[in-house]
């Protein structure tokens, strides 16, 4: 009886946004008279950071500090339509809509600034710190705040913008499955190292090494949050979770968190993550979306590592100690094993 170590690898890609497209999101951006901007969305921030990502995209596009942008979400009276927060679509779809809206608002802001400075709007640039200045003549500048006041009270302009992003719905050929499922894909490779106890059937994940390519990372901390949390979920899917432990038999279903197994803090392993950014041609600043795909490589990598450790293939998830032990037992009794 012994503990065996093994490594397994998986490489995956993941489509961004709803399959086939046809999933629009809209955004409205407007300034108050003090030059503070509001982004109005009906989109939902599930905790993944959609508000932060759209806020940074808006600030970057407008050319104002992120503190001067507030993202208001999840109200059907004030936020325009959004398909929803799923299918890794938030950063890509909502981000693009916000970018379009912010670009329109920026256009009005520069026009208003140009009128105040008596120059051509094309000669102006933002400094990202709250001022608009003449290119090549930075001493000729005006604050965004003063522009907003002038636009509102003197010029009668609304510094605002509308945005929608829609990937047109693709047809599907019923005979061949020919279709345009997605416009960009995220990528990942993950190597899991496990230890398998051949007496108890327990599988312990010791270490994960991974690389995720997610297009532009709008906010690296939020990317980290997704990738760390997602790999935990992948490990949980691989080794622990199910509401129907003897599927397709429906018996023994857990009813609460005492009965539903998930890895606890002591089961989390070191995870060395590298992020690559190959910008998506149609993503906001090249962003794709790390949300869903981060869990996916963990399941097969762990299963392959179990094989590498003890030579059994568990094809049914989750890889419970019971399944490992049954497979080891079956294998020990097989003629192939005896001849080794």
């Amino acid at each position: 009886m012994a503990k065996h170590r093994g490594r397994g690898v998986a490489t995956i890609n993941y489509p961004i946004g709803m399959n086939l497209g046809g999933d629009p999101s809209q955004a409205l951006v407007h300034s108050n008279p003090s030059g503070k901007f509001t982004v109005a969305l009906s989109s939902i921030d599930l905790g993944q950071g959609m508000k932060s990502v759209t806020r940074q995209i808006c600030a970057e596009t407008l050319g104002v500090p992120v503190d001067d942008v507030y993202v208001d979400t999840a109200d059907s009276d004030t936020g325009p339509h959004c398909m929803g927060s799923f299918a890794s679509r938030g950063t890509h779809r909502v981000g693009n809509a916000v970018m379009t809206a912010a670009r329109e608002a920026r256009g009005v802001m520069l026009e208003a600034a140009a009128e105040e400075l008596e120059v051509d709007p094309g000669d102006l640039e933002t400094d990202g710190k709250g001022s608009i200045r003449v290119k090549g003549a930075p001493h000729r500048s005006i604050s965004v705040r003063d522009v907003a006041i002038a636009a509102q009270f003197r010029q009668g302009k609304t510094i605002s913008g509308r945005g929608i992003f829609l990937v047109p719905l693709s047809d599907v050929d019923p005979e061949t499955g020919e279709m345009s499922p997605a416009t960009c894909y995220a990528h990942a490779c993950l190597i899991a190292e496990v230890e398998v106890d051949d007496e108890t059937g327990d599988v312990t994940v010791l270490k994960m090494n991974s690389t995720y390519e997610i297009g532009r990372a709008i906010n690296p901390k939020l990317v980290e949050q997704q990738l760390v949390g997602g790999s935990w979920m992948g490990m949980s899917h691989a080794l622990y979770e199910t509401p129907e432990p003897y599927y397709p038999n429906t018996r023994d279903g857990p009813r609460d968190f005492n009965e539903y197994l998930m890895p606890g803090p002591g089961d989390i392993c070191p995870h060395d993550i590298t992020v690559l950014e190959r910008p998506a041609p149609d993503g906001p600043f090249g962003a794709k979306g790390p949300g869903e795909m981060c869990a996916n490589p963990v399941l097969p990598a762990v299963a392959n590592a179990v094989f590498n450790a003890v030579g059994v293939r568990i094809n049914d998830l989750p890889i419970t100690p019971e399944k490992v032990l049954r497979a080891l037992k079956a294998r020990a009794g097989s003629p192939a094993a005896r001849t080794r």
Binding site: A2, H4, R5, G6, T11, Y14, N19, D45, L46, R55, Q56, E60, D75, S76, C82, M83, G84, S85, F86, P174, E175, T176, G177, M179, H187, C189, I191, S210, T211, E213, P220, M233, H237, P243, E244, Y247, P248, T250, G253, D256, H271, I273, L276, E277, R278, F285, G291, E292, P300, A303, F307, A309, G311, N315, D316, R331, S334, P335, A337, R340
Partner: protein
């Protein structure tokens, strides 16, 4: 630990940005860490009523009679809601995008099709009063035969689960019981393949396990409108679904979401809003309908279980020339979103690999269990599990390192995918290289030099030739006509130059660079154990061939 490798693909990015790329703290962080971010259930109403749902104890049964008279008289009970009270009782979620037939009632009237299906709503002054009244309802059932296995459900004579789809499969394009993917000619390719690997995979159902269960509060507003506080992941999706079921105009509903205590796909289904709104309309009071933990675990829709059969045809030089997949999505008793995931799954096959012949049939199957729904990676997670375990077996069968075997077949810019769109903006080879380097997983030089941006079939005039790893260039090349590209070409008609290429894949034991060997064959392996794992990726194990493992791993060699 997380690091960025900004050097890779740097030439494709403008990194001269100010706000984008910054680790800016989230706008709502203060609320989150001080416990003041409002969840739907943080809204307080003095006269709040509570809706609880009486659910079916049977997986399949005909309802003969319902007697709720005692429950209606029970203390605190304000209203019983029956199927007949629901303005538009039958709905399917994707009717909003004109996909599928209305097949699921908000409240069952004649037949229950899964254990836990809602039958009656009880609105009371407290959740306790509603639950106590529930015990007074008398329902008599005639139990019907039930089916729980996706393949059993497809057999003739299986119990019919869903009245809108009596054959237990979702209907595609008005004529097929599955979604097809047809690319190239798999039959011809399997005939030519030197190794065929087949296996079956089973995904488990998964509970989303959000900290906050599904729920909503509907509040009568002035002017005939209703404000709905909800945990939904998709505000307008839920609003439009609720408007349809309640036969209301969408602008009579004001949905307010916001902070959500975990979604993961489990809060797209609009499980509570239509009935909390109906209850508020019927009573004129604010009504909360929230799932208990047991309801969330067993009757809130889970990630569905997919059963996946994969068959790969492989040449001894490592090229995968054919992949056939048959996949059954267990949708449970109703469609919800599984029909959509089937198409997404089909689009994803054969994964991030350039395989010239691909054939897939993907089914959305109805069984007598809790309807499944979206979850993180919907339509893809299970098929990735199956295909990535399967390709590992292919590597063992062909005697190659599992990562190099993948990289040889990996898609690159310009490659044609099975859904007949050209790959672009790919980056998987680089992911593999970086991960291998960190993990001390030995890759030979030619694999370390590969690039997603070069060597794709666009560059090669549309010809897919996976013998193109640089070091193999000296090996005799396949004639383009035999290389198997495009939708109708049969791959590799000419047997590839087996011997030289086979040797090229053997890892030279002594020629390994100074890089440390991976800990794949730890000391403990030398202890006698039932395992004698074929460490396909280990340098020492590279002499293993397909024949040796054929009886153990279900592979066969031609």
């Amino acid at each position: 630990m997380l690091e960025f490798r900004k050097d890779i693909f740097a030439d494709e990015r403008d990194d001269n940005l100010i706000e984008v790329g910054q680790p800016t703290a989230r706008q709502d962080i203060l609320g989150h860490v001080t416990g003041t971010s409002p969840y739907y259930d943080d809204h307080r109403f003095g006269n709040l009523l509570h809706l609880k749902i009486l659910r079916s104890p049977h997986a399949h049964a005909r309802i003969r009679s319902i007697d709720d008279s005692a429950a209606a008289r029970a203390p605190g009970v304000k209203r019983i809601i029956r199927a007949a009270d629901v303005p538009v009782n039958l709905n399917t979620l994707l009717s909003l995008i004109q996909f599928g037939k209305d097949d699921e009632p908000s409240l069952a009237s004649d037949v229950v099709r899964y254990k836990g299906e809602p039958i009656l709503g009880i609105v009371a002054t407290s959740e306790r009063a509603a639950i106590e009244a529930m015990a007074l309802v008398r329902i008599s059932y005639d139990q019907l035969p039930a089916v729980f296995d996706v393949e059993e459900a497809l057999k003739s004579g299986a119990p019919s689960v869903n009245a809108a789809y009596p054959k237990n499969t979702f209907e595609y394009y008005g004529k097929y019981d599955h979604q097809k993917l047809r690319y190239g000619d798999v039959d011809a390719a399997f005939k030519q393949a030197e190794i065929v690997v087949e296996d079956r995979y089973q995904m488990s159902p998964i509970e989303h396990a959000p900290t906050e269960t599904n729920g909503s509060i509907a509040v009568p507003d002035t002017n005939g409108r209703f404000i709905v506080y909800t945990s939904t992941q998709a505000l307008f999706f839920s609003l439009d679904t609720s408007a349809k079921i309640n036969a209301m105009q969408s602008n009579q509903l004001h949905f307010i979401g916001g902070t959500v205590g975990g979604g993961f796909g489990g809060k797209v289904d609009t499980l509570t809003e239509p009935l909390s709104i109906l209850a508020a309309r019927l009573t004129g009071a604010p009504v909360r309908y929230r799932f208990g933990r047991h309801e969330e675990m067993q009757f809130g829709s889970p990630r569905g279980a997919e059963r996946i059969y994969v068959k790969d045809g492989i040449m001894k030089d490592g090229r995968i020339v054919a992949r056939q997949v048959r996949c059954y999505f267990d949708s449970g008793a109703y469609t919800r979103l599984s029909s959509y995931a089937v198409v997404k799954c089909t689009a994803h096959i054969p994964g991030p690999y350039t395989i010239p012949n691909v054939h897939a049939d993907v089914y959305c199957v109805f069984t007598n269990r809790t309807p499944a729904t979206a979850m993180r990676g919907f339509g893809v997670t299970a098929v990735d599990f199956a295909m990535e375990c399967h390709i590992d077996k292919g590597a063992v069968a062909v005697g190659m390192d599992p990562l190099e075997f993948r990289m040889l077949n990996m898609y690159r810019d310009g490659d044609m995918k099975a859904h007949r769109r050209q790959a672009k903006n790919t980056a998987l080879i680089e992911c593999a290289q970086v991960t291998a380097e960190k993990a001390n997983w030995p890759l030979r030089d030619e694999f370390r030099r590969m690039s997603s941006r070069t060597g794709g079939s666009l560059e090669r005039g549309g010809v897919v030739d996976r013998t193109r790893a640089p070091a193999l260039a000296s090996a005799p090349k396949l004639a383009p006509a035999d290389a198997g590209a495009g939708r109708t070409r049969v791959p590799s008609v000419a047997p590839p130059p087996v011997v030289p290429q086979r040797i090229a894949y053997e890892r030279p034991m002594a020629a390994e660079p100074a890089r440390a060997a991976p800990p794949q064959q730890p000391a403990s392996r030398s202890v006698p154990t039932p395992s004698a794992a074929p460490p396909a990726s280990s340098p020492a194990g590279s002499t293993h061939g397909a024949a040796r493992f054929s009886s153990v791993f279900g592979t066969r060699r031609r």
